[in-house]
């Protein structure tokens, strides 16, 4: 009996010791440990993500074939197989078009962009983040903007040698100093997370009420704060209200980038392409601060 109690005591003590050590780990050690685990899992993430995409495409192909067979019962098996192959080729063509579009976007951009494939999303569901398969070894560093051809996606919050985490624009912790193109009014855009249904939305606060905002107005980054370059499209105004104090306008923004289905993002490297001058920051007197608070 005493032996059992002693063993039990040792188990309790060891568990508590490990827990206390984990909870009190210095920040650098915790980052190092996390980085090592992410690095170890990154190849598996990429492998499973690729397999999941291929499985989805195959399922889509097969369901298409099933529909055709249902509609054309007399069609021969050979024709069905050929149609299946055509569909597979169409899937490849779509992927090819998408990649060509992304390549064109990267080439057309004034800034140097690092293309990154999305390999995972936040496993806990507490934050709106995604993990990409490029890291500090490729020049991806924390506090760099992440964009898509449609618009701003978020910013890098951490990077290990071969992976990086991007905090999406839709996360409440992601704050971006923004400007409305039509009237030049400044404000701060922050994420609102995922609603019960419908698309991910953001909110623009602290808009001067003397500059009326209308649904459909285009919102871009202001360039203030140093993280997000100016003039990156964020989204469009969906709804406008006054905030609780009645001093400022508040606008719901629909992000341009489809944040729920991102497969690729580009991390903006601050330095311009060789031989080009950096884009001039916008005039921004009196604009609100608050960009880029970490979660």
């Amino acid at each position: 009996m005493a032996g059992v109690n002693r063993k039990s005591l040792i188990v309790w003590a060891a568990t508590l010791a490990v827990l206390l050590a984990l909870l009190n780990l210095p920040l650098s050690a915790a980052r190092g440990a996390k980085s090592a685990i992410r690095e170890a899992l990154a190849p598996l993430h990429a492998l499973f993500q690729g397999a999941a995409i291929r499985a989805g495409e195959t399922f889509s192909t097969l369901s298409g074939i099933g529909g055709l067979v249902g509609e054309n019962r007399r069609m021969t098996e050979e024709i069905a197989i050929l149609k299946g192959r055509v569909r597979e080729l169409e899937a490849f063509e779509r992927q090819n078009d998408e990649l060509r579009g992304l390549l064109g976007f990267a080439r057309a951009s004034r800034r140097r962009l690092i293309p990154c494939e999305v390999i995972a999303r936040d496993a806990g569901g507490w934050w709106q983040t995604l993990r990409v398969g490029r890291g500090s070894a490729d020049g991806v560093e924390p506090d760099r903007a992440a964009v898509t051809p449609d618009g701003l996606a978020g910013r890098v919050i951490s990077a290990s040698p071969n992976t990086a985490d991007v905090l999406l624009l839709s996360d409440p912790n992601c704050r971006v100093s923004a400007r409305i193109v039509r009237n030049g009014a400044f404000g701060v855009v922050s994420g609102q997370g995922a609603g019960f249904s419908g698309p991910l939305v953001c909110r623009m606060d602290f808009i001067n009420r003397n500059h009326p905002v209308r649904p459909g107005d285009v919102v871009v980054t202001s360039g203030l704060g140093g993280i997000f370059p100016p003039e990156l499209p964020i989204g469009e105004v969906d709804r406008v209200t006054l905030d609780d104090s009645g001093l400022y306008q508040r606008a719901e923004i629909l992000p341009r980038a489809d944040l729920g289905r991102l497969r690729y993002v580009f991390v903006v490297v601050t330095e311009p392409r060789p031989g080009e001058s950096p884009p001039a920051p916008s005039a921004a007197a009196g604009a609100p601060a608050g960009e880029g608070d970490a979660p």
Binding site: L22, R38, L44, A52, W126, N173, S197, G198
Partner: protein, 177 residues
Amino acid sequence: MNVVALLFLFSAGAVAQALLPTAPWLGQAHAPILLSLSLYYALTRPRAAALAAALAAGVLNDALGPIPLGYSSAGFAAAALAVSRYREEVFVWRHVTHMIFGALSSAGVTLALAALLQATGLVSLAPGQAALKTAGAFVLGAATLPAVYAVGRRIDTMLGLAAPDSTAARAWRSPLR
């Protein structure tokens, strides 16, 4: 062999948890695969092994997101202890027991993490959002643990760590013997 199986299960579970989609009506809760794996060890192993598995699963869970290291380990260890303590109190149909253990553990850990993250200022959740997320975790926990148990059991059987026809936790062949 037991450690190799644990490493394989946890790595695959971590990757699957990060890749599986979630839904707004579940409060963006993810299928708690890593928690379910630690509960599987609590259901089939001695308490010491269950706690070690819970700590390891918690570290993996935290490493996959911005949660500070140790938060999930504490929650997983508490859930594993509770399941280990009550694993003999079963319903006639074993899957119902697993569903209840999975649902309650997942909801409890989610609620505790929400309180902890809110208290430390890392997230700001409205009460409605926290309730929706907890409810989502409850549903997903009930669905995930029986599935994870079946997979874990099959792998243990393949590796000779459990008897093929056994249904009770005591049928497990302990590596400590």
